[in-house]
Symmetry: C2
Subunit: 513 residues, 2 copies
Amino acid sequence: MPALARLCALARDAATLRSVHALLNWDQETYMPPAGAPARAEQQALIASLEHERRTSPELGDLIAACEADASIPADSPWAALVREMRRDYDLAVKLPASLVAEIAKTASESTEAWKAAKPRSDFDAFAPWLTRMIGLARQKAACYGHAPLGEPYDALLNEYEPGMTARQVEAIFTPLRARLSDLVARIAASPKPPSDAPLRVKIEPDRQHKFGLFVLESMGFDLKAGRLDTTTHPFCEGLAPGDTRLTTRYRESSFADALYGTLHEMGHGLYEQGLPKSGSLRTPDGETIPLAGTPLASAISLGIHESQSRLWENFVGRGRPFWEWALPHAKKFLGPALEPYAPDHLYKAANIVRPSFIRVEADEATYNLHIMLRFEIERALLRGSLEAKDVPATWNRLFKESFGLDVPDHARGCMQDIHWAFGLIGYFPTYTLGNLYAAQFWEALRAASPNLDEHLRTGNFAPLKSWLNTHIHAPGRRYRAGDLCQRVTGKPLSADPLLRHLEGKLGPIYQL
Amino acid sequence: MPALARLCALARDAATLRSVHALLNWDQETYMPPAGAPARAEQQALIASLEHERRTSPELGDLIAACEADASIPADSPWAALVREMRRDYDLAVKLPASLVAEIAKTASESTEAWKAAKPRSDFDAFAPWLTRMIGLARQKAACYGHAPLGEPYDALLNEYEPGMTARQVEAIFTPLRARLSDLVARIAASPKPPSDAPLRVKIEPDRQHKFGLFVLESMGFDLKAGRLDTTTHPFCEGLAPGDTRLTTRYRESSFADALYGTLHEMGHGLYEQGLPKSGSLRTPDGETIPLAGTPLASAISLGIHESQSRLWENFVGRGRPFWEWALPHAKKFLGPALEPYAPDHLYKAANIVRPSFIRVEADEATYNLHIMLRFEIERALLRGSLEAKDVPATWNRLFKESFGLDVPDHARGCMQDIHWAFGLIGYFPTYTLGNLYAAQFWEALRAASPNLDEHLRTGNFAPLKSWLNTHIHAPGRRYRAGDLCQRVTGKPLSADPLLRHLEGKLGPIYQL
């Protein structure tokens, strides 16, 4: 078999193991009975170690080297990009010993169970030993990856999620963003005429919310024959395998917008997964046609780009006036009479209320980024060793008071609210705000390219928007790095300006600033 | 590591892969979106081949041989049984080439999807090529296993499910059983006073049925923290992993007994899985304590014994008069007013109506075994090569007419009703009737040992029964072969007499024969 074809076959094999691991995780969050947790941890550790074996096999290294040396692969071709990305993944993977990979997988699974048990009781003491272990493992991982001479452990982990980005670069973007956002939030807080949140506080049974969520998903083009929507404590999207993309959300009777925006968010991720060319194939320079499933050309670029897709549907579509002009009549049908008194403008304004609050996943579009900055600061300090796990609650509560002016009432609404640290996702949070920034910049580009966009959205015609995203963002897979894609699609490097223009342009009129 | 400890570690590793494969299957039947099927087939094939690698590794063979030669393991100890059973599994596994194992797994997955699509349309032509492939693979498998000089291909497959049993032995039990059963069914058909099935034809919403099913499971001692109950086309139980036993059932509004007895049946399997010593451990002759999970000592003996547990709860408990004396007041609460007019005796009699019908899983306790005999005859002929897949419908319909006096109206209610052949479970059906026979014989033994059994059941005290089964049937795992267990527990070899005594003793008075 020619090297390129064999390389793709190995990638596909490793991706199949990854998809099995993803099912183990999905099932653990959705349907696994609690007593199954110890066995699940063993299953995860075993599959993770098998996947790691595949991703670090000497044969894979040899094939990558052979393809790099193959002059018949044009430098600007998708195949060159595939080899470049497989080199990146391989170099990262060989730096981690299999024993560490297995230990992280097993500990993450147990730690997640401990977090799930301790969170409802706000019992940080029960969770602290697990956090200590997960931070310790993250530092071990960072040490294995290494970082540039001027860098820090954080960079090594961030690079897993957002290739090439550093903590220093994140800080450079976050610092001015924080200043302008804080100013905007302060002016909003002083506004004498805040909108009413009454339309979002009506009571709606979870079952009705679920049916409405499915209707919205289908209307927007999410393929439910190739996907699902379930309920979990912490919503997520898992692009499990070709033809199998799973979303989760959660329902609260007295706050239907939580589930609705959560569903739109995960659907944005899901449309990206469904838009990647997982059932596509491509001819090699040798003239062989190779399926792309499991290769970098059918994979997401970075978490920041992934998040840009979720934010775009959640905030740029879902919190826009045209959305509510389309959605409200359907919402009234699906959700019952409680919404009858309201017009689209009421929902539009209510969905854009800015108000400091405790829970990140329920935060508004403006304060959300302040939640991220707080987490970034804490996990950076944990990795540097200047903060210990046991001191996280005190530090969290102090920083929260500074940023939001609020006293954290309990750890469930404080430092224990997110699954990320329990699961070992450390160095991951900044990608949420990077996603907001990418989304804003893409949104400006697609508005410029689609002058009738608002009219389409208002009439429930989501196909042109989805099609633009499919073509420009989804189809290339990892052909380009995030920064390059941004430059190609928007003509400019990433900047905080589009997001600030978007927020100020929308919130100014709503709050009569 | 001493050989015995290392042997158990390898068994555990293979069992972990099996549990992952089981989750892939469970998910495919319950929640997987349809477009995920091709990727699922690849996942299953990969995991199956990894499991097969483990089960056939030369290291495993060497360890088994080392333990067999180890004089410090007493011949009548559980450890000797463990080595004996691992030898059996190893010898079977090394006979199958990895490529055949992978092909069977992948084809079974695709064939199951084809069956699912074709069955509602009774489209046998669409399914026939898949049945041909699955039979071809089963014959290949039988050829790899081989059989005794006087045996036939069927024996090789039956031995997978019911170690040591042969088609000839099955025939020897089935022939007289068929004669006495046919006579009983004929006398029942001639009875002038059949009971009314009205109490089972009331309409009950599926959601109420589900809640009642969960109540019954909990009352009988099935641990829902270590298990689940979901909905599938074809109900099953999957003892997925330690602490994770999953049951499925299906609901029909106009026939709540289908789901209730289906749930009791799968619960019987589930109690066996939960009763196996999966979280137990045992000291080796070296003084080392080894966990039993994944070893033969924490596994089921045979499908016949497994089925005896499901039949015992479904038929011997659930279709008994004491059950309805306990259950009816609860059923009235959970299922609503439709059952108000009825007394326990009405339900007891209705649940024991004997009437030839098309669907095996809905058949009564007496005619059920006639369904099995028909399938046994057909698959035996398919494996011998005296019948081709394309001729299955005509043969099925002819044999069905002979046994039941009924014309099969369509293939969905005929030869396409079961998932087994689509999934490659060929040589499996006889174990259902063997299960009925074992159940009857165990039931006689436990009634002799527990004179107050009826009183316990009548008052909802299921603990003594469950405890007897835990001790005598579940706890030994595969320490004894099925025939030996039967002899130990009941003092006699397996015989058809207890089942016939049970059916004649119960149905005689109901039908006033």
